[in-house]
Subunit: 496 residues, 3 copies
């Protein structure tokens, strides 16, 4: 204990000299936390936050700035952005704030905290459908049932299965890991620490860094989903591994498709000579093929300083259609909050079960064109107009054919419901819990999906044998056979 105290004093002196721009409050954090959580302190020291001060930002040319605030509060201008700057900001707004060595500290740094220096990014992100990922899943009754059917515990008695709803821990480990949990203060706990007993709040839904996390200060999302603590490296956010945390599985195979694309190949082969730090990001010079961020988020420019694409954290700004997650591909929803959508059949879906988009809730032709053109400007930095036009025409065709193949699968399913081979909408039963229903889910959630991603990003493997058209074609046959075997079994039962 004595050794720790001596070390702490030594480190306090050391930190004062090594980090001259660190605020007094952050200095005090570092004294103990260099011992208590040495990994994140060392990690933070590598960050731009630790190495510069916000007052430097306005000195840069407009395109080179990472700080979008016109005006930084005076107390935050001349010191590094350290522990205290974020974790003690506006404590009254954070229900997770607690007294800690003379400070009101909160565990969960929210988008509202980041917005003090990065307000444009925060307000764009609020319009991003990802910000609403918690509610869009949790509060949509149909999708809520999908969650239950996947995460619930099934049992088997007398030749029949039953399902018990999932617990919150399981949901947090599963769907809501990426979608985000609801983090709430549930109480207080006293813990023994090397500095004596200390009291901390207890949190439910924690840990979580999902993109639509509901924070104790009422904000949605976590900037750390993509800008990993505590280095907050722009390099990392620009690399495809970041997106791959949530966009890799068979339901959203974006990263896998990228990996087998020409773009992904160039990235994997040549990335060590790329420049991932420069702002703006210069096509051809800093990078020779796009990553996820290039096409969907980053400020991209030419060597001559022309803007190819504006930075956006409303990540569907360059996306006319949503090609995954729903039964049919469809124009992007107008509102990031998709729980407001209802189709003619009364279902909370942006298309009918037959595939027609619900036009009131999805963007129109003009907005689609605007978004498509924003994306195509990125393509045109390296490709000819013909190349780009025909690539997008193929994607349109793929959207159409995969929607048709989904319609066929849906017909088999509705036939199963109509004949009683399965129970679903007509019976008021779950549409996700029987074998043929799960085959149907895979049809659109895995196979039609993968095929469209492969088309959009030119990663052909995923359009054919790796969860693509091969499986679409096979699944139709298997669904049709299942229906026949089931009807035969029902016949057998009625013959007894």
């Amino acid at each position: 204990m004595k050794l720790i105290a001596i070390t702490a004093v030594f480190l306090f002196l050391l930190s004062k000299s090594a980090f001259s721009v660190v605020s007094k409050a952050t200095d005090e954090c570092l004294v103990c936390h260099r011992t208590v959580s040495p990994g994140i302190v060392a990690d933070w020291q590598k960050s731009r936050h630790a190495q510069t001060t916000p007052i430097e930002a306005p000195k840069k040319a407009a395109l080179e700035r990472c700080v979008s605030a016109a005006d930084i509060p005076s107390g935050l201008r001349e010191t590094a952005i350290g522990c205290a700057e974020c974790h003690t900001m506006n404590p009254e707004k954070h229900r997770d704030s607690f007294d800690h060595n003379g400070y009101r500290v909160h565990t969960i740094v929210s988008p509202a905290n980041c917005a003090v220096c990065h307000p444009v990014e925060k307000s764009q992100y609020e319009q991003n459908i990802m910000a609403e990922a918690y509610g869009n899943l949790h509060d949509n009754p149909l999708y809520g049932d999908l969650v239950r059917s996947v995460n619930g515990i099934q049992t088997f008695e007398k030749f029949a299965t039953a399902i018990r709803p999932p617990d919150e821990d399981t949901n947090a480990e599963s769907c809501f890991f990426c979608h985000g949990t609801k983090v709430e203060v549930t109480g207080r706990v006293t813990r023994q620490t090397e500095f004596g007993d200390m009291e901390f709040p207890t949190l439910s839904g924690w840990p979580n860094q999902g993109v639509g996390r509901l924070n104790p200060d009422g904000t949605m999302g976590s900037c750390a989903s993509c800008h990993a603590r505590h280095e907050f490296s722009i390099e990392m956010a620009r690399k495809p591994y970041t997106c791959s945390e949530c966009h890799k599985g068979p339901d959203v195979p974006a990263y896998k498709v990228y990996e087998v694309s020409k773009h992904g190949n160039i990235y994997s082969s040549m990335d060590k000579i790329w420049n991932f730090d420069s702002v703006p990001w210069v096509a051809g010079k800093d990078f020779t093929a796009p990553t996820c961020a290039t096409c969907h988020v980053s400020l991209v420019a030419t060597e001559e300083g022309e803007v190819v694409a504006e930075r956006t954290h409303r990540m569907n700004d360059r996306l006319p259609c949503r090609i995954f997650g729903l039964i049919y591909a469809h124009p992007h929803p107008k509102s990031p909050n998709t729980t407001i959508i209802k189709n003619k059949a009364g279902l909370p879906l942006p298309t009918e079960l037959t595939g027609e988009p619900v036009s009131d809730y999805v963007i129109g032709e003009r907005e689609q064109t605007k978004r498509r053109e924003a994306m195509q400007k990125v393509c045109l930095a390296c490709h000819s107009a013909q190349w780009v036009t025909q690539q997008f025409a193929r994607l349109e065709k793929t959207i159409q054919t995969t929607n048709e193949m989904t319609l066929t699968a849906t017909k088999i399913l509705t036939t199963a419901w109509e004949t009683g081979a399965a129970t679903g909408l007509p019976q008021g039963a779950s549409i996700f819990d029987e074998a043929i229903e799960k085959m149907w889910v895979e049809h659109w959630l895995f196979f039609a999906n993968s095929t469209r991603f492969a088309s959009a990003m030119a990663g052909a493997d995923y359009g054919v044998f790796a969860n693509g058209r091969w499986y679409l074609s096979k699944n139709i046959q298997e669904m049709a056979d299942w229906l026949k075997f089931k009807l035969n079994e029902m016949q057998g039962d009625s013959n007894k």
Copy 2:
């Protein structure tokens, strides 16, 4: 527009100084294209093509040369290989040539263009089965039917499925993305550009960079499949990501198997200290484990300058057997054009349905031995004779056992045909469109395949639980059960 003109003049001057070795014609391309397609100009500037001139090539020691032409045409010797050198070469042979600012330009640079400096590589590649990948798929009636059954649109009416043939866009996105499309000039179009209206040819089957692409000048293949435009980096061609664009899916899992092999592990862990640029490529010094290129393509030498393996772009030169894509593994076909093959049953296959190779069309023992020994010389650079011999003996055994397991699956399928549980060869029907037929396809195209790749490249995961023997063993049981359920269903129907 004025700004663009000023910028163009400025860039023209700049380019004259910075690229003294650039030809006048390429200079003129760069003036506009630095603005119009800045990404590829910057990309090209990183290339060896931009930084040296062919006249330097003969000064190098024989093993160090990348240019295989004994004599370069005089106009191409003393300038960089830039836009004009490739895109305006022999315009009369390119049906896609068009008038463009005083030049006859063609979009699609073909192997014939590359062959001016790299003739050996082009003539080897023509003998490579990959050069014929378009026709070998498109013009083989059996495989054409596989394409239709995968890419076609299925419908469902009155408990039965039907199939509509796929459109060309879908085929181009799917099988022919890797195999290559047929690129043809379909007309002309006028586009608005920032330099005024311009006329361009329109192309079908475009974009495409498949290995067997049929080009408008009549040549086959695309060098850019592996040597990505416009950096044409040897580093990239030598890295496994390049091959993985087409050799990753469950049908050709070469890259996946490599990734889990010891070789792949050494590559992934240590590649940052390897030298991917040196020619010849020195075993142990430049790299400490092979990549795809090392074993199949590259000129490999020792530190003392002994040649371990000659460079070859006929990529089956070191491959005695073909272990994927067909129903059974078999000795490599003699001709790269496999559409000429017919087995005893009249099917366009290099083996009978029972597995015996069709000896007239496949290489004999002597050629197999020659190829095996060429490959083994690479292995022997690091491994003992015993290691290598026994490794190859295991592969032989794996070829034999996977062929036996495929024979068993084929027996179940032919039983289904004979009993009427499915319709296939005896009925003159498709052999790829029913559920049991698709199970059979997966048996050889995915599982037997993966098992053999795992054996050939020592990536055991893919020989067991990752699409290997586990699935071979499971699939037999599922095929046998499907047959029983189907026969029972037929019985049920006849009892009605």
Copy 3:
């Protein structure tokens, strides 16, 4: 031949000057082997073994030492660790020793050889369950049957399948590739070499580098499984690709889960600025996220030199539970030799078929707590106590729910056995060879597994749609349907 002799003399002289610390015996090896196996010589030259001598080890601070021996035999202190040092050590103990140019050389360097300098690592590894991987699979009758059912050759006659036991080559390519083979001297062979005819021993089960390999000197394991010959790079052992060689497939998806975790993302994005060579490995400074080695093996310290985790080669030292490979997750077995385990039903399993652990053979609460705390110390270098506690609570919940879902699958299977729909334990038949049994195996070996790994390592994709809960939920429905279809088919048969 003359050229070779001259080259050899030249190289001999060269090697004498370039490698002044090389022993005379190694010098003699190098003279020929630089020509015969140039790749591994160049590879070895990059190694620490080639560049330093053991006498330097004691001069280092205790935490910085890689050599754990207090005393190195005098003959090995002052020269590099080269060919002869390992391959001629204690020849009498190696049944694979042979006379080779005046030396008794053995092919297979065993843990006993490495232990001369690294005794602590060897003795820890012997207690590691991986050291017994050969016997634990080969000598467990139940798992031996799983091997047979996967690797055996199936046939189909008269609507029934049969199985022929696998050959040794197939087993060596499959399960025992990772588990390790039994390497035995089977005879002698004379080979033509460029230095004339030479006699070598022939070896069965070779090549192999499995973790539980039985060596000709009676030792178990291969240090080269993770420390790849002949660079023996600590960087490589610390990178996740090494573990991925065996821990990637659906049965042990550790690497895949890591890849989609935040930790994996940080590693993939930032590894190029990490320091993989420093000993001890400093959290936050040398690396900013853990790799496999960080959590399971490495000596981890803080910048101030505090030890976060002691180095261990008994890799379950920080693992309270075994979450893969067996039917249910359970506390780790006490003994690395698991063939001694018997449950109440007499089966060689650490749990009953209903999931209860067999308490005599698995570690108790206290040992579990000790191991959990050792692991948590690593987490706490970067994360708060609450974060870590709740992360581990979720894993506990996931273990419980996946075990429950496995119990449900087991109930369906036992119902199939009881009704005669399948034959298994009650009939004294294999429990791995029928379709429903294979579905059951996938339930625990793939899906429950993946879900637990995803929970343990926070790679959520594998807990949901990538072989996780989605498949657990779907598999239950498919097993239940299979049972109904089968019973209906049996009914159909009895109606005939």
